[in-house]
Amino acid sequence: MSSTVIPSGELGQQAEESNYLNVKHTIASWLLTGDHKRIALLYLVSTSFFFFLGSIAAGLIRYELTSPAGVVLESETYNKVFSSHGILMVFTFLVVAIPAIFGNFLVPLMIGARDLAFPRLNLASWYMYMTGGTLILAGMIFGGVDTGWTFYTPYSSMYSNGQVTMVIIGIFIAGFSTITTGINFVVTIHKMRAPGMTWFRLPLFIWAMYATSLMMILATPVVAITLLLVVYERTFKLPVFSPELGGDPVLFQHLFWFYSHPAVYIMILPAFAIVSELIANFSRKRIFGYHFVAFSSLAIAGLGFLVWGHHMFVSSQSMYESIVFSLISYLVAVPSAIKIFNWMATMYKGNIRLQSPMIYAIAFLMIFTVGGLTGLFLGAAGTDIHLTATYFVVAHFHYVMVGGTMLAFLGGLHYWWPKITGRMFSDGIAKVNAVIVFVGFNLTFFPQFIVGWLGMPRRYHYYYFAPEFQAYHIMSTLGATVLGLGFILPAFYLTMSLFTGPKAGPNPWGAHGLEWETSSPPPTSNFTETPIVMDEVYDFDPVSDHAKDLKDIEERNRRRSEEGYCGSEDDN
């Protein structure tokens, strides 16, 4: 192949100037791109849009609940609003967001590949996602669904009058987008690693993405076929899940949760992926117990397939089964705790840099721990009978999904923003925002634990039977307002950074990893030369770190004295 060798100097120069963002400017070059980085950006824009819509629904729910008698929504409208919130957040944001945005962007970069294995499939998955999302939205506009995101039969299949069919078909198509993303990741991670990138040199992000893909590939088809059967039954009035005609509605719950419990881990494992990177890079230490953290991801993926029954303690599931599921559910605590303890052990005596992504990571640790521990209340078959379908459950899964996935998402967005856009944002305001999110989040959801324990049922739009709950609900609504602010602010200051932010350089955080060895933003082919991996993962050198710190401080002092600069907001 010597005939195709281009002098490396010339190529390097070319790559300096052209990156994946400015290589072409036409709309077609974005909509027909095969570049994983551009597809990641398409996903970033589209998932943010769906997240925004889901948040509006959440706002309506919180506003409605400020009064014991309800404020604005009719019963049926309320049902449609909370269903929209659940469906949009779960199927078009949480399941998709981190894998499709950060996974897409980072998997090839982290393993030293030029692209994912199947770029066209990757683009097709975005189109499937958009088709699915559009159908879901159309269903919500033309009548809505009032079944909740779980579509329990026979209500969804026999009685509900909304646009259940359209929304389910939307979810079905979006599900295939998830599957194709998973296939792409698995093949890429197996087959496209750079020379020297052995399995145990992979960043933990990749391990967690692999575990996520595993569940996407093996669990999603089950819910796809189950929801398709609901449509089949709904269209032809069939007996598949309807007790009137000999079907079994509990079978639907079994099949639904056989997917949806792994789906919960599809949502949280990518968050673990990001947090592992953040903790290691901002503590300047190799992750404590790398192998344990890596295999705990796979263990969570495996156990995820064995615990679906803990969502069904109050269905007519056999009690023997409930006991078994309860016990297996406790086992999930083991790999989760391995991760939490190893992260903390990594931070211990680390050279911690409290920059904004790290603050999100620490907030994640605190909130996820609360979310995980309250999961034990619900995993125990006994207490679950008391807590089923109360706000305790709502608070629990928001602690895991919002406090876990959403915080990790924001942390990852801040961490890789300079890599994605080539611009630095103002770290000061990002830190303030992290605190706003943390406070707003806890103010929103902690009162829900209490009010749920006291007996407030979920999915009710009034509580005149217990007006004493109002204080908790108002606290929660106030918190939601603060939290909303915390989600809107990044949109502004990150967008601002595109125009006013200083150029980031290849490695603004001094982080370790292949993605930081290429320019920011990376060239279309990611690396000017195929990297050869010689060093171990998270191989920080404390001595040179210290020397670099000293040099940075010197440099900064010099710059300040030259420019007469005395601001403190921007000093990272």
């Binding site: 089950v222 076929i225 032809f236």
Partner: protein, 239 residues
Amino acid sequence: MSAITNTSDHGHDSALHHQFEDIGQQNDSYIVGMWVFLSTEVMFFGALFFIYTLYRWNYQLDFYIAHEHLDVKLGAINTSVLLFSSFTMVMAVQSAQLKRRLHVIGYLLTTIVCACTFLVIKYFEYSSKIADHLYPGAGFATDAHAAFGAHAFEAGKLAVNMNHAQLFYALYFGMTGLHAVHIIAGILVILALIRLWVIRAKSVTLDYIPTEMVGLYWHFVDLVWIFLFPLFYLMPKPH
């Protein structure tokens, strides 16, 4: 192999995509990708097989009586047709390995003929069910005697619950229907493959892997039918 990127024009080797280093890596990726996809298909059909198992177990006699309307002979012929099409498919792959272009096209066309035969037989089976109002939905037969004749009675008593019979036919049409959709998709994919072979597209002629991938899909369709046949057509009488 030079380590320089931007070498998407690999000269002699236009079947190689830019993200791969060499053709071996690309082929491995394609085969693994195909198998990962097939494992989702296994779960997709698997959930249906599970539902079938559960209801068959609960309503043994109803399902047995309902299945009496199916024609074992047609089912067996269809099974043979699909098995034979799998054989022609595998021969097409072998010819692709040996780079015998006309053989590949011939075997692929035979496969399509088999697939169409399967669908035609399926059409006759479906129409005989529909003629007897055994299609799931509001129009499902209510008179067990008219639908199943003497089979519907056990020791002079009506032995079949028509709701459960409808459940059987819902699953029958659902599962064989989904299988037929896969057959139709397979026909389209094979047609596209034939077109590529006819125009001597380098993406298929240089290496047998694309043909092999279509083959894997086709064998999977065959695999599903291998289980559908005994489960739906060869039901033992509860005894």
